[in-house]
Symmetry: C2
Subunit: 429 residues, 2 copies
């Protein structure tokens, strides 16, 4: 853990290192992924079966072995503890409501020149959803990816998920049942992303791929961007908590640890104006950490990447927060609204002392797939828009063309494109 | 040029080759671009100067030599022919109006559980705009990229453009003046994209890069996706004209040629139900082509990539059009509205006989930067959204947390994330 004070003379240099610190994978991953994708493109299912045997210790043989059927998902859902089932249903309902409200409106109007203009939104035909196995096999991720796609109107949703040595996560299957997913393939890693993008004999290609994954999955999506649409390239997760000393240090410690327990590469940052409060939080982190089943991960994340930023005045905080452009920002201060107005770059903001980030991960409604690694400077969280595209349209009669056509002729000729000019002229002559 | 009839027995195989035909660059470009980007990242301005000397024959030496100043742009604008100036102004006004109407609304509401939820849109801080030199140095492209950024509220707009042997395009400078661009750098190619993404001593990094370019520029944007935001990866341009025999073949020939004259890799496709009409169009293409100053390009594009698709009935057309997912689609038929309703995938649609695609390139208002190479399946034209990002937010009091918090606790515990659960529990105990 690193403690920085804005009053230190070397603060800027040290803070710049925090801002520019990369916790992401590099060139080796890119090369490996490129090779995997080529194999899948060239040899399809055969390459998938080889790699799934090698990496997941799972053998894809007969038709049955490739897929997890709706019956298995239904059984997993039926076997859920009722408390958990209700929690999943509440989460799904709230996520659905928030994303339905997000649906974009079409436009269609005729302007004063008599030109009819507009834009029409449509869902993509098919979306692929990656669901990790192992450490990050979260049913909440399945809800957060599948529900926006369903709300957008996507007709085909194909899930890919690794099943190491055949193991499946019943909670994920239950969530798949809840949102009505019928196509689940037992493949994972970069090879699964390749199969969704290029298509194989068994797996039809999709138009958009979303969902979290390890560094190989993220790199595969990056390399296939353009062949398919993807959600934002995702890196390790992060939280920035801006908290004054009126907070219970226990609450703030819990919030920082909730990010740290995700992964050793996660990052938790506290901005406060009171060094004594920072020390209390640090003490509570030590105490709470020792009680967590995830303590090894949380401890490593906090030790390696945790940061305490001590400001002289909270007026300094927005500028620092904007440079960090964090995925999650908690404002546990008296007037969160005023500070929120000054934040330009953040994935999602949690206002006030009773809004811990974890509610956003599960049940609040907004998407928990958010831009990481300072990408909130230019990117947004997952939404129905990621599963839709817009077609603009133009309609004119002769009178309207007569009004604006001559300007098009002048510009086309000036750009040295005579056929462009002619296509207007020929209709006006 | 290729003629296909849906009634031919081998139609499906031949059409599939048209759909899957790639007119884009491959692995060699990727490697070269990767090397260029590494040089720019590691050696900044020095690498830019070296490559600009080598590729553009232009020497970047003193401060003056790096930039084109606002005075030069103002002078170019002042020197414009009045007809051209009015055409540029009409185009800018119409593009501005269409894109202003596109600005997304913020959301802020409190639901029945007492949870306040919302989303807030903000512009990115800085956008970089690539403007090609040479063949495709179009002032219209500058308007189509810069105006949405300005409308979105982007504060800094940096233009990069190659100036081979020092040559600048006065029309582009005039357009830059018209839209109020003050930062223009005389660098181009993949190296210019690298400079905008990584930043150099002279050129500050930007958050989003848009604008057309050659295969190297497109590949550089693709490789830097995630470091910065980019507009869709762009390939060669294309048009699909769906026209019945009631059209004047001269008009349709002109529309097909207006696409073909862009580049030898452009593609023009006609769908009609009348073989005799197709032959008339082909004749008119030959006649018109011989009169074009762009005939060499247009001829090569039409010969190499042109397609005539003869359908037995126009009812077959929407399915074919959806598979082609073309950048531009003209519907020169009696009831364009009915066919438009069946189109799922298209960048922009031009309805009726008096709406030639060229008006969309210049003055109609919608953006002319559109998804190519079947990417309309999942991507949209450039819009103000490409220069903005959305921050979601959540605000709760103790009562609201009491209502939805327990479900978050149940899900966090089921996912094996105890610190997540604790951060909610500690506030409710």
């Amino acid at each position: 853990m690193l403690t920085l004070k804005t009053s230190d003379t070397d603060f800027e240099a040290k803070f710049a290192r925090v801002v520019n610190g990369r916790r992401e994978s590099g060139a080796d991953t890119a090369r490996t992924v490129s090779e995997i994708l080529t194999k899948v493109r060239d040899r399809g299912d055969e390459a998938l079966a080889e790699m799934t045997a090698r990496y997941d210790g799972y053998h894809l043989t007969d038709d049955e072995s490739w897929r997890i059927g709706p019956e298995a998902c239904h059984a997993a859902f039926a076997a859920l503890d009722p408390v958990l089932r209700e929690a999943l249903e509440l989460a799904a309902d709230r996520i659905r409501a928030y994303h339905t409200d997000q649906l974009p409106g079409d436009r269609d109007f005729t302007d004063t020149a008599g030109v009819r203009l507009g834009a029409r939104w449509r869902a993509v035909d098919a979306a692929g959803l990656y669901v990790p196995g192992g450490r990050a096999a979260y049913p909440s991720s399945l809800l957060m990816n599948a529900i926006p796609a369903k709300v957008a109107g996507v007709e085909r949703l194909a899930v890919v998920t690794p099943t190491p040595k055949g193991a499946v996560n019943p909670l994920v299957l239950a969530a798949a049942h809840l949102v009505g997913i019928e196509e689940i393939w037992r493949v994972g890693g970069a090879q699964a992303i390749g199969a969704l993008a290029y298509g194989t004999r068994r797996i039809k290609p999709v138009d958009v791929i979303t969902g979290p994954g390890n560094a190989y999955v993220a790199e595969a999506k990056r390399q296939l961007y353009g062949v398919v649409g993807i959600d934002m390239v995702a890196g390790p997760s992060e939280i920035l908590v801006i908290a004054d000393s009126k907070n219970d240090p226990d609450w703030i410690a819990a919030d920082l640890l909730s990010q740290a327990e995700h992964d050793p590469t996660s990052q938790s940052i506290l901005i406060t104006d009171d060094p004594a409060f920072a020390e209390q939080v640090e003490d509570r982190i030590d105490v709470q950490c020792s009680m967590l089943s995830t303590q090894r991960t949380a401890r490593k994340s906090w030790d390696d990447h945790g940061v305490m930023l001590i400001v002289s005045d909270f007026a300094e905080a927005p500028a620092l927060a904007n440079r960090l452009a964090a995925e999650h920002v908690e404002l546990a201060i008296d007037d969160p609204e005023a500070m929120f107005a000054e934040l330009r770059h953040a994935g999602s903001v949690f206002l006030g002392r009773y809004t811990p980030e974890a509610v956003g991960d599960y049940v609040a409604g907004p998407n928990h797939v958010l831009p990481t690694g300072r990408r909130a400077r230019f990117a947004s969280g997952l939404s129905v828009l990621d599963f839709m595209k817009r077609t603009s349209f133009i309609s004119m009669d002769r009178a309207a063309l007569g009004k604006i056509g001559p300007a098009a002729i002048a510009l086309a000729e000036a750009e040295g494109l005579p056929a462009h000019a002619h296509s207007v002229k020929v209709r006006l002559s």
